[in-house]
């Protein structure tokens, strides 16, 4: 109410042409001098309101100086000034209203006003309306941000007034949006509020929901008969919509029923009434069942020593005799109805965006799995060997990236160097492993599995000995920080986009190598029939070696990519190894498209399960694996199974 009065006052002041007095602002400040000298959160509100309402041109500047602790007071007469330091070191006083020089001052003749942070924030919120029309767009944006964070009924009018002369289209949209959400909260006319609510239909923004949700706040009340004048959300059925105990508790709180004596209180009462080894005639030794204790308690209650029990029948009768209902705090039913309709509309939009977000998440997880598994798929597919050390090649790649970053401090350059270097290092490690171990175990796949496991634990321990057990950082360049935010629901971090692109590049590259190059031709020949290939002049040993190197090299690159968002530890690779195997097996061995399908399925499925049970990624992985085991039942050869002779057996 008071604010309206001030507003009218302000308008009338605006209409009156500047009354040339000493200075309106100085006079106004003078009347509030004591409050300005010693401001507190409680007392400063009306002063600020009056200052703002005065509509005087100098108010904004004054408030700003005050907030920024640049307001001074002359000790001799208590008048307020700004100051400026002159070239000769002396201090000049500046009038708060006109900005005119008011002569010099001695340093000890003036005091600086330093309002506390609570007061300063109140000043800042009073300043908002000046800033909303500030010529500097950046300050207008700041003011809007401040308003969004801490809205107030008084700002609605100011905001509305500041929309029309807004020139920047982006800011104008923000202002209008904020104006609508403020209207919902503080608007005086139900029709405009309903219109504002409905204008948010289908809007996925968090602010829209934040503005509408408070309208639907409810409290549970108990009535004998539901009164007509309340805005009832729904009637609650004890036992179904509201737990019977909670409902009865409400009755007790409303003074409509006797309180239940809690189990523990009853026990304490029994102990308090112990008398000569018995309670209420029941010997203590017999009180080892609840039934016996109840008997003893009832005996006590009969004697009037303790409050009587509330029987179940009594509870039920009490519940049946009353009505429980959720009542909207907002009394206007049209508002709540509009809010509910709009909110349900919003939630279906949000659901759609959530789904999009889920798909993006699934894609990004799938691309990680694809990168981790594709190397394995190549070696498994071409050579039929399981490489348990594959995860350690991922780790080698990640550590290579870390070492490169120690040498080259610039993150962008170091990543560009690390990717090929990780490929080279892992390629060499893979070639060495193939030549030294795997070649000698040809046609003994189970032994290969175990021998590469030996390599795996040795490599892991060596990495632990060199780099220690603590996680090493592999920092992404700054242009990969942040996320691509589509709206408040859908966003995806740049690193994940980069990994997705990387996975696409490798998919293309591998398809090109396998289908369009001489090496690819030979690899495919060896995959299908090694002996026939060797009789055609292809050296299978060389092909195996190169294939293994290629698969390991890609694992190295995957390591750099994974290291960017995960911690680089010696166990980095082993965390991905089982998933990679799953990807290969589910997708179908020896087929890039199969690996792609496997990664896509596992990635999206895992995200889907997490979506239904978001608190528990462990459970998601468990269900995932169980699903895969069952899936293998129906497609033992994977999603894309090789047919004909190539399938072997």
């Amino acid at each position: 109410m008071l604010r309206t009065v001030y507003l009218i006052l302000a308008l009338s002041l605006l209409l009156v042409p500047a009354r040339a007095q000493d200075s309106d602002l100085n006079a106004l400040i003078e009347t509030h001098r004591s409050d300005i000298e010693k401001p507190s959160r409680r007392t400063i509100g009306p002063v600020l309101d009056e200052l703002v309402a005065s509509g005087l041109p100098g108010v904004a500047v004054f408030l700003e100086h005050w907030r920024e602790k640049k307001l001074w007071q002359r000790k001799s007469d208590g008048r307020f000034f700004f100051i400026e330091e002159r070239d000769d070191g002396s201090i000049g006083l500046v009038d708060v209203d006109s900005g005119a020089e008011m002569g010099a001052a001695a340093k000890d003749g003036i005091t600086n006003l330093k309002p506390n942070s609570g007061v300063r924030s109140m000043i800042a919120s009073a300043l908002v309306q000046f800033q909303l029309s500030d010529p500097d767009p950046q300050r207008r944006a700041q003011a809007l941000t401040a308003l969004e964070r801490d809205p107030d009924a008084s700002h609605l009018g100011v905001l509305r007034a500041a929309i029309d002369n807004e020139t920047d289209p982006g800011l104008r949209a923000r202002k209008e949006r904020l104006q609508r959400s403020l209207t919902i909260q503080f608007g005086s006319d139900p029709a405009t509020r309903v219109a504002a609510i409905e204008s948010f239909a289908g809007d996925a923004g968090v602010d829209a929901r934040a503005a509408i949700n408070p309208l639907l706040a409810t409290r549970v009340e108990v009535f004998d008969v539901i009164p007509d004048d309340l805005n009832i959300a729904r009637v609650l059925e004890p036992g179904d919509d509201i737990a019977a105990e909670a409902a009865y508790q409400l009755l007790v709180e409303a003074g409509k029923a006797r309180p239940i004596v809690a189990l523990d209180a009853r026990k304490q009462a029994l102990i308090a009434n112990l008398d000569d080894g018995a309670v209420g005639g029941v010997p203590v030794a017999e009180l080892d069942t609840q039934a016996a204790r109840d008997r003893a308690y009832q005996a006590l209650a009969g004697a009037g020593a303790v409050p009587p029990l509330v029987t179940e029948a009594e509870q039920r009768a009490a519940l049946e005799g009353h009505v429980f209902a959720e009542v909207y705090l907002e009394p206007d039913a049209t508002l709540t109805a509009a809010a509910r309709a709009t909110l349900s509309d919003i939630s279906s939009t949000v659901g759609f965006y959530r789904f999009i977000d889920l798909v993006l998440d699934g894609l990004s997880l799938a691309s990680i799995y694809f990168l981790a598994a594709i190397g394995l798929a190549i070696t498994f597919g071409v050579m039929g060997v399981i490489n348990m050390a594959h995860g350690e090649f991922i780790m080698i790649g990640a550590y290579t990236g870390y070492v490169v970053q120690q040498v080259i401090p610039d993150y962008t350059t170091s990543i560009l160097v690390a990717l090929p270097l990780a490929f080279a290092v892992a390629f060499m490690a893979g070639v060495a492993l193939e030549r030294l171990v795997i070649r000698h175990l040809a046609h003994r796949p189970l032994e290969t599995l175990l021998a590469t496991f030996g390599i795996s634990i040795a490599l892991q321990q060596i990495a632990k000995n060199i780099f220690g057990t603590q996680a090493r950082p592999l920092t992404a360049p700054s242009w990969l920080d942040g996320a691509w935010v589509i709206n408040d629901v859908v966003s995806i971090s740049h690193i994940r986009i980069a990994i997705f692109v990387l996975a696409l590049i490798f998919l293309g590259l591998l398809l090109f190598i396998l289908n369009r190059t001489r090496l690819g031709l030979e690899v495919r020949a060896v995959t299908q029939n090694p002996r026939m290939a060797s009789s055609m002049g292809i050296n299978p040993d060389r092909i195996n070696m190169l294939t293994f190197g290629l698969g390991s090299g890609i694992a190295g690159i995957a390591g750099v990519a994974i290291g960017l968002f995960a911690k680089v530890t010696s166990e980095l690779g082993s965390g991905y190894i089982v998933q990679s195997f799953m990807t290969v097996v589910v997708g179908g061995v020896g087929n890039i498209w199969g690996t792609l399908a496997g990664a896509g399925m596992i990635g999206s499925l895992q995200k889907l399960i997490e979506f239904f049970n978001p608190s528990n990624t462990l459970a998601a992985q468990t269900y995932m694996i169980i699903f895969i085991i069952i899936f293998i039942q129906f497609r033992p050869k994977g999603i894309i199974a090789l047919k004909g002779r190539a399938a072997g057996d």
Partner: protein
Amino acid sequence: MRKPLLLREPSVMIFISLLAAFTLIVTVLSEGFGLGLVSTSMIKILGKTLCLCLIAIAMDLVWGYCGILSLGHFAFFGLGGYMIGMWLMYERTKDIVLGSLAGGALPATPQEIEDAIGTQIFGVVGGSEIPAIWYFADSLAAQLALVVLVPGLLALVFGWLAFRSRVTGVYLSILTQAMTLALSLYLFQNDSGLRGNNGLSGLQNLPGLTDVPQSIVSVWFFLASALALGAGYLIAAYVVSGKFGNVIRAIRDDEARIRFMGYPVEAYKLVVFTLTAVIAAIAGALYYPQAGIVNPAEIAPIASIYLAVWVAIGGRGRLYGAVIGAALVSLLSSWFTGGQAPSIPLGIYTIDWVDWWQVLLGLGFVLVTLYAPNGIGGLVDRLVRKDAS
């Protein structure tokens, strides 16, 4: 008329006699029952090693004889430990709870006792309700039955699913590994009803026998483990000696041919898989009361791979090889990682075995696979044959 098993297979006779002699000597030297030359902690280590030898026999049976490289038998081992651990923990907690409630003014009601037990056991995971899977936890007989039933049924269902869809070779290994991972991840959850990553602890205390010192209890468990190992060895030797043994060896060597000869290959594999899972579970049920704690980390896939490593080092397809491998590698492991092995100074760098044992084990294992595919058992064979010729 066939000769009895013990005479037909001299290795069985030798093994059983050696085991008996070893058990007797250790018991006589123990703190609890004799001269006190072997410490209680050493008895526990030996007892645990015997359990590991038993699961190694199971692994040898399923892998060395039947050719199924299961990377999941440690899951059955751990499950066995969990099953017996539930009884140990429940009853022990009940003892403690009854002790603390006895001082109250009123005798405790059954509900109060159960609430107190629930809070005591599940307080660490923020619960106080006793989950339904603990229904039988107050009955030793029921939990002993579950030691066999739960892992056995899991193996039966999993094996049936896997074998009927003809998953073989490395695929099967990966699938068993996935099963193990799924189980351990499931147990890691706090709401799995088995105390999440805290696992079950305090298993070394026998309910109702708190007066008996650990030096005695450890010998009991040592003897039980030795007995189980002996029995497991005999059963395994019996299984592999007859026609059944011939069939499963043939399945290992050429599964398709055996199938074409009309043998129900899947059924044979399923029997072996389930039987070995049960043996593994019994080994686990004996192991964890000696270890004192069982938690999901024990079930992690890597443990099962180590099991395969032991058997490969000891020598597949020979029961004594599995025992030798498990005993040797696990004892060496605890010796090296326990910090007792002397470090090797190399001037600029000192090889500390705590850090380098894994590397040695990994590389040594690669060398064994490359150059001694039959492991230590293969060397024994060569010696024996040289003597014979």
